[in-house]
Symmetry: C2
Subunit: 354 residues, 2 copies
DNA sequence: TTGAAAGCGCTAACAT
DNA sequence: ATGTTAGCGCTTTCAA
């Protein structure tokens, strides 16, 4: 690999002239000089060493991306969008980290980013509170938190980009209600707060608006502490069995996310119940897989591409100017109707029993 | 962030002494000196700047990982394993890149790695030939190619880590044959060669061994050139429709991978056919999602964790010593029987007709 | 046992 | 318009 010195020598100019052309200051020199430098660069196939540049400027040209597990299709989908935007629109590469819900791994990732001089990081955290993010900010990181709202009242030093989770749950709930369902369940995973309470709020609001509070249940599934990629789906499977055994079984169930919905459908099937004939199921996320499962899953889709643009832009903006205030950015989801939701059987009878 | 200078000042020693403790040369100094340095490091929370270190040593402490699309669950699963091994066993971070089957994106990734000083890269390529990998090696990269065999005869300068694809297809085919199937189809995607021909070979061999060559068909699905994450599944869906319309419809079909199997099952359902009652389907990959789909997919599982260990170890080994010869590492897959394969209906009748 | 000093490749202020 | 030079933070001879 040739260096800026080699280029200078070939072009018979000083290194600072070469540096000037590298950094877009071509105006500071003669046409002929510029041409000579460019020719030398091309001839040698010279590309500046970023470590050296970084040592001087402090810019690493990379972003960190922290996810619970990249094997989870939802995070894979998010990562894909973020990597594309970072690369194509800003020339930034992304360093990936899996946390497996381990605070130590999360802290270790921040530590490594700092050592590598990477100052911007996108965090899709599963951790309960965000104090560790504020600590990361103290250490010099610029962070964007995805899919978590800022804690009310606290003016955070990290950006928050998320979808309107209450609205997403409301959309899902109304879809079920619109199809005639009156006994509803919202299934979620306890402890994994990612926007969970907002969704429960939206679910409750929609039930209340339809006068269905009495028949609305929230199921907080408990999961083993170890992190597995199939964990969410396994949880759904287990909860489906429990739901199926209920005397007053819900006819429509909303899953906190698509993965859980897949598990729910598998569990319902294990219990001998058909979706949507016996129970309707609706998810939230809009994974492309949802179009493929049997039956195709009705779900509430998140606008990931638009979110990715905002995420990266916030990071780049605040990296360039630390003075930019942090903010909260909310995106609107949309309902995608497929096959997993249908009218409940014997609506009248169910109502009479209730 | 404090520097090695700050530590030296605090400990009242020279920077070289601090550097010595950082690099495990504690033997070169007095007990008391070492203690002072360690205390200063702890007090300041000092961590060496990697860009500076890299400028000196040429070691970036990172690995590149190139995948067609991280939104594809298979690559997500592989990425998860590789990131874990790299991080936990070698302290290496991973830089992720999506190619979307675009040679320019692939070349751009190599270019950026080089500029960043990252010298090791894991490539899960979708490109036809591997000459671009050899070119990357010329430029100074150490590359491990995953899930492609070395071209026979050429002694490649890149390592190849893959699963025994012929065996995987053989296992899948024998599973179908074992259940009594006699009219078989192997469905794949044309042009996406990832180990495709090896699988076809395994399929053919198993069919021949059972005297079923005449009834074995290979379907090379054509897909639009644009890359989409759902592409593989969509292809399966389309091919399923075509298969369903066949006069002599196969009773058992092998999908080149699990994603395609999902699409196949969705398409079969669209055509009014039930799996496994009307058609049995088997995949290759062993994604965790396969346990969740309806019916649960019988599939041939790849030993990803073991493969990840080899992949990273090869990279690290050849990064440390460029003299280590490259090699080919083959892993054995295992069959996982679930619900998507059953005995064909009216075996005798089908046979009579054939 | 410890320290001084020369870079690694680049940027940018400051000369000329 | 172009060149000289002082670092950025670290590693590693080589000397003392």
């Amino acid at each position: 690999m040739s260096t800026i010195q080699d280029v200078a020598r070939h072009a018979r100019v000083s290194v600072s002239t070469v540096s000037n052309v590298l950094n877009g200051r071509a105006d500071r020199m003669g046409r002929e000089t510029l041409a000579r430098v460019e020719a030398a660069i091309a001839l040698l196939g010279f590309r500046p060493n970023r470590a050296a540049r970084q040592l001087k400027t402090g810019q690493a040209g990379m972003l960190g991306l922290l996810v619970p597990s990249i094997a989870n299709p939802m995070y894979g989908a998010v990562a894909r969008e973020i990597e594309s935007v970072a690369q194509e629109r800003h020339g930034l590469r992304v360093v990936l980290g899996n946390t497996y819900r381990d605070p130590d791994k999360e802290a270790g990732f921040f530590q490594d980013l700092l050592e590598h001089g990477v100052r911007g990081v996108v965090v899709i955290s599963s951790l309960q509170d965000e104090r560790h993010l504020e600590r990361a900010v103290d250490r010099g990181l610029v962070v964007v938190s995805v899919d978590r709202r800022a804690s009310p009242g606290s003016d955070s030093r990290v950006d928050h980009v998320s979808v309107d989770n209450a609205e997403a749950a409301r959309l899902a709930t109304e879809c079920l209600i619109g199809h005639g369902h009156q006994r509803l369940a919202f299934v979620t995973a306890a402890g994994q707060t990612m926007s969970r309470s907002e969704k429960i709020r939206g679910f409750r609001a929609a039930c209340a608006a339809a006068g269905l509070e009495a028949d609305a249940m929230v199921v907080d599934g408990h999961t083993r502490s170890e992190y597995g990629d199939a964990e969410m789906a396994e949880l759904g499977r287990a909860e489906a069995l429990r739901l199926a055994a209920l005397r007053q079984r819900p006819t429509g169930v909303i899953a906190v996310n698509d993965m859980l919905a897949y598990g729910l459908m598998a569990g319902l099937r294990d219990a001998g119940l058909a979706v949507p004939r016996d129970v309707s199921v609706i998810g939230i996320d809009g994974l492309f897989l949802s179009a493929l499962v049997t039956p195709a899953l009705t779900t509430v889709q998140l606008p990931l591409p638009a979110m990715a643009v905002t995420i990266v832009e916030r990071l780049v903006g605040r990296l360039a100017d630390a003075g930019v205030p942090t903010g909260e950015f909310l995106f609107q989801p949309t309902l995608i109707e497929r096959e997993s939701v249908a009218a409940p059987r014997r609506v009248g009878a169910a109502r009479a029993r209730a």
